[in-house]
Each structure stands twice: as structure tokens, then as C-alpha cells.
């Protein structure tokens, strides 16, 4: 199972973020990706492997080549992680905001 940790780790590398950026414009083959990046084709393949294992990229054969695309499920998992982060934070915020409001009321009563 792919986790958000794997996705976060995979995106810790600037070249892999650049690859993801390229793939957001549409599916692409390794050769096309490598042409737009200052790294070798084998290096791009290696980065794509990491991204695939992290669940962010999927690939499929197209004749003699493989076409890579973003995997919406992996992207969604990462987004879910950030969602969860803010849900936790806002729960604590809500409790504090409502608690802070209470003493004011008691002072008014006193």
C-alpha cells in the first residue's frame, strides 16, 4: 500500500518535482521528459521508478515505449494527508476558541 510518507519522500527531490510538473500537462514518454530536463535519460527512468513506487505516477506500454502519467489516486492520497493535518489543527482551534469565550461570560455574570 502506498502512503503519503512515500509520496512526500519522493517529492523531496527537485528533479522528481519537475517530472511531476511536466506530467501535469499530460502523459509523456521517458525520452520526451529527458529532453526538457538537465539530467540523463537513465536518471529520468530512475526518478520515474521512485515516483511510480510512491504511487504518484503510473505507466502503460504504447508500442515499443512506455507512457507515464500522474496517478490521480496517489495525488489524492497526498492531498488527503494535508486535509487530515488541517482537520486536526482546526479541531484543537475550535475547542480553544470556544473555551476562551466561556470565561468572558462568567466575568460578565460576576
Amino acid at each position: 500500500m502506498v502512503t503519503y510518507e512515500a509520496a512526500i519522500d519522493a517529492l523531496g527531490d527537485p528533479t522528481r518535482r519537475a517530472i511531476v510538473e511536466r506530467l501535469r500537462r499530460g502523459p509523456s514518454a521517458v525520452g520526451e521528459l529527458a529532453r526538457g530536463l538537465p539530467v540523463s535519460r537513465p536518471a529520468v527512468s530512475q526518478h520515474l521508478r521512485v515516483l511510480r513506487e510512491a504511487g504518484l505516477v503510473a505507466d502503460e506500454p504504447a508500442g515499443a515505449r512506455r507512457i507515464y502519467r500522474l496517478d490521480p489516486a496517489g495525488i489524492a492520497a497526498l492531498r488527503d494527508y494535508f486535509e487530515s493535518f488541517w482537520t486536526d489543527v482546526l479541531d484543537d482551534f475550535k475547542a480553544a476558541a470556544e473555551t476562551a469565550a466561556a470565561p468572558t461570560t462568567e466575568e460578565e455574570r460576576a
Partner: protein, 149 residues
């Protein structure tokens, strides 16, 4: 296939049983009263408190047990009781940031709080300055979450 930016921005809404003034104060300058430092900080168990300075340019940071300060971001829009926007780069080794906007809206006896966390997902944004900023932002926010994990 491409992934639309809208599908990646995080938006949260929460209703609180207090005034917008109280909600705004709690979220900003009152952050030390509630921010879950144990699980949401750079220093984890070393983090002692959080500080959210009022006004545009105000710093947001955590203070560790040794007194050192570790910056999360800074305020870019300050509209008391209504709206606050701040950069968000909790990794102190990085400069650029993602962005968080929080809006406070009066609703009946209480308040509605809308939070939007953006920037971390904008890998496809056009414009060199924006892209540079957000690419660094990834480093910042991801570095922070990795260390927090």
C-alpha cells in the same frame, strides 16, 4: 491525463461557538493556547510554545526548550476579525513558502472559519517567480512534514 489544480487545494471549514473576534484572536495571537505542538511542530517534543505576531510582516514561529526560535512563516494579509493570510514554510532551513488563508465569517451566534492551504500543489503554475517560489515551498513544507512524521 492532467490533474486539475482545484482538486489539489486543501479547503476546510469549521463552525465555532464564539464571536469572529474571539475566533480571530484565538487563531492568531492566541495560537499558544491550542496549537498541537506535540504532533504539528518542527521540534516535536522539543517545541515549547508557538508565537503568532499581529500585523503584516508578523512572524509565526515555535520556541524550543533551549529558547531557540524556529520560523513557520509570516503574515502577508492582516484584517482583524475577518481575514489573515500567511506564508507557511515550517522548515527553518528554507525561505519560500506555501500559503494559508483563513477567513472568519459571522454566522448567527457563532462564526464560520474557512481555511485554504495552497501552493504546495501548484507544480504546474506558469510564471517563473511563482514557480520558483512554489518549488522551494515544496521543499519547505515537505521537509517539515517529513521531520514531523
Amino acid at each position: 491525463m492532467s490533474v486539475p489544480t482545484a482538486a489539489l487545494t486543501v479547503r476546510k471549514t469549521i463552525d465555532v461557538a464564539c464571536s469572529v473576534e474571539q475566533a480571530f484572536e484565538t487563531f492568531t495571537t492566541g495560537i499558544a493556547r491550542w496549537w498541537p505542538l506535540a504532533t504539528h511542530s518542527v521540534g516535536d517534543e522539543r517545541a515549547r510554545t508557538a508565537v503568532f505576531e499581529a500585523g503584516v510582516g508578523g512572524r509565526i514561529y515555535e520556541i524550543w526548550d533551549d529558547g531557540s526560535e524556529h520560523e513557520w512563516g509570516s503574515v502577508t494579509v492582516w484584517e482583524p476579525s475577518s481575514r489573515v493570510v500567511f506564508s507557511w514554510s515550517p522548515n527553518p532551513d528554507r525561505e519560500a513558502a506555501t500559503e494559508v488563508e483563513v477567513r472568519f465569517v459571522s454566522e448567527g451566534d457563532g462564526a464560520r472559519v474557512d481555511l485554504e492551504h495552497r501552493g504546495w500543489e501548484r507544480l504546474g503554475e506558469e510564471g517563473p517567480s511563482v514557480r520558483k517560489s512554489y518549488e522551494t515551498g515544496w521543499d519547505a513544507v515537505l521537509g517539515r512534514f517529513c521531520s514531523a512524521g
